[in-house]
């Protein structure tokens, strides 16, 4: 039993196609339309890969929000990481940061120049590198939403308990709830429902979305990343919209608990505090990041090496900010697929495979083939 294949059964998808069509007709009959937003890069990828938008009835839009943590990381962060590598530190990063453009170059280009930049699958590898290279400084690029924050903090906890003193974090952690708040108060953005992320919610819990339903009247469904999860999630959002109701529904209850993962939340509370951070394309959002608490200054690369993360200069013609807010679809940007491609990305949404533009670029050819 692998708990993946059963959630991809085409026979069940056919049911949801018809159900969505019926709900779409009801919605239109009531003179309404709907705009839903998914706020997780893994949803963005799955929606493009499995052609979910092809299942949506007319009058129902599903837009991508700022769900890719790599995409919303400021270019100045990459510059700071490269300057640490140039100063002789060992840089350890998840692979998806390697091709993100900084102001001068990418981490991949810096690595080609001979600097020590290691791409890893597990944050635990950073701790191993520090343990086996006690005479060198190891800096882990701590980028990610709550899903990734939890394992990185768990790794830090292990390093502290093992008294590893040559490891530090360059943090660019992001928190999902504050950015949802920021999107909802932007008068230029209309959102009737959130397709809430699967694994961020595994950490923070489904109850975290209650204020959006209760205060803002926005429908919320926590959904898994498999195609049937997403179809059932969209069906749930559409049912709420048709009925004129807004509440938090947990479609992914095989993993997500109302209060989240207490072990993970306890570690995060012990080591981290919320901080105002800048999101590429969205600007500064209060309490939307995490930094290490002050008693952990030794593990904070910025304090340890006395550096500031400079504000980088994004490409002025890049419309990623509008894409990240769901105001335009990727193909509405003049650079999309012409000057900006996955091979040579100009904007952050084209860099990571989970960026809205990269997902649209990669799977648009599949859509053309099907039609």
């Amino acid at each position: 039993m692998n708990y993946i294949e059963g959630f991809r059964d085409p026979a069940v998808a056919a049911h949801y196609r018809d159900s969505l069509a019926r709900l779409g007709a009801e919605l239109a009959h009531g003179g309404k339309d709907a705009c839903f937003m998914e706020v997780c890069g893994s949803h963005t990828m799955a929606i493009a890969r499995f052609g979910i938008r092809g299942f949506l009835p007319s009058g129902v839009r599903l837009v991508s929000g700022p769900g890719c943590p790599v995409c919303v990381t400021d270019p100045g962060y990459v510059d700071a990481a490269i300057s640490l590598a140039e100063a002789g530190r060992i840089i350890v990063t998840f692979g998806d940061m390697m091709r993100v453009p900084g102001s001068r170059s990418t981490l991949a280009q810096a690595r080609a120049m001979g600097y020590a930049i290691e791409s890893v699958y597990s944050s635990a590898t950073a701790m191993e590198l520090a343990r086996t290279h006690p005479d060198q400084e190891v800096v882990f690029l701590a980028v990610g939403f709550e899903t990734t924050v939890a394992p990185v903090v768990a790794m830090l906890d292990g390093a502290i308990r093992q008294r590893i003193g040559n490891l530090s974090l360059l943090t660019a952690f992001k928190r999902v709830p504050p950015v949802l708040d920021a999107l909802l108060v932007d008068p230029g953005i209309r959102i009737d429902g959130f397709l809430c992320p699967a694994h961020v919610s595994a950490i923070i819990g489904a109850d975290a979305y209650r204020p959006y339903a209760a205060t803002h009247g926005v429908a919320c469904v926590v959904s898994g990343f498999e195609p049937l999860d997403i179809l059932q999630g969209v069906e749930g959002l559409l049912q709420q919209r048709v009925a004129g109701r807004a509440f938090v529904d947990n479609q992914y209850n095989r993993v997500v608990r109302p209060g989240g993962n207490p072990q993970a939340l306890g570690l995060m509370e012990r080591y981290l505090e919320p901080v105002e951070v800048s999101w590429r394309g969205l600007g500064v959002i209060p309490a939307s990041g995490f930094k290490l608490r002050s008693h952990l200054a030794d593990y904070d690369a910025c304090i340890r090496f006395g550096i500031d993360i400079p504000s980088g200069r994004p490409n002025p013609r890049c419309l990623c900010g509008e894409v990240l807010k769901g105001k335009i679809m990727p193909s509405e940007c003049g650079l999309f697929g012409v000057a900006c491609t996955p091979e040579k990305p100009l904007g952050p949404c084209m860099v990571s495979s989970e960026g809205s533009c990269a997902a649209e670029y990669r799977f648009a050819s599949l859509k053309r083939r099907d039609e």
Binding site: Y3, I4, G6, F7, D9, P10, A11, V12, A13, A14, H15, R17, D18, G41, S42, R53, G54, F55, L56, P57, S58, R61, C68, F94, Y121, S122, S123, A124, G144, F145, T147, T148, A150, P151, A154, M155, G158, P197, A198, H199, V200, A202, I203, F225, L228, N253, R254, V255, V256, R257, N261, P262, Q263, A264, L267, E354, K367, R368, D370, E371
Partner: protein
């Protein structure tokens, strides 16, 4: 970035480390974010750590619902299912 794969715990070395398996592929992972992990549990693996347990009862219930919906759909339409949606249902502006 936030993908996590459901894998089954096949061995636990100490409180924190274990071996997980999916379709014959095995990985060493940290179990420190899971409360009381047991051999046989399914856990979601992200960045080398199990981030949450998968509740197999809830998963099986949902799969049962899915099979029921598929059977109903076949009864109603008398047609084999196709995953690809008809293009008239797609939003033309996006294609």
């Amino acid at each position: 970035m936030c993908l996590a794969v459901p894998m089954q715990i096949v061995a636990i070395r100490d409180d924190e480390l274990g071996t997980v398996e999916l379709d014959g592929v095995r990985h060493e992972v940290s179990l420190m974010l899971i409360d009381g992990p047991q051999t046989g549990d399914y856990v979601l693996i992200h960045a080398g750590y199990a981030i949450e347990r998968l509740d197999t009862h809830e998963a099986d219930e949902r799969l049962k619902l899915f099979r029921h919906l598929a059977a109903l759909h076949q009864q109603e339409t008398g047609q084999p299912a196709r995953l690809v949606a008809p293009s008239r249902m797609g939003r033309e502006s996006e294609t």
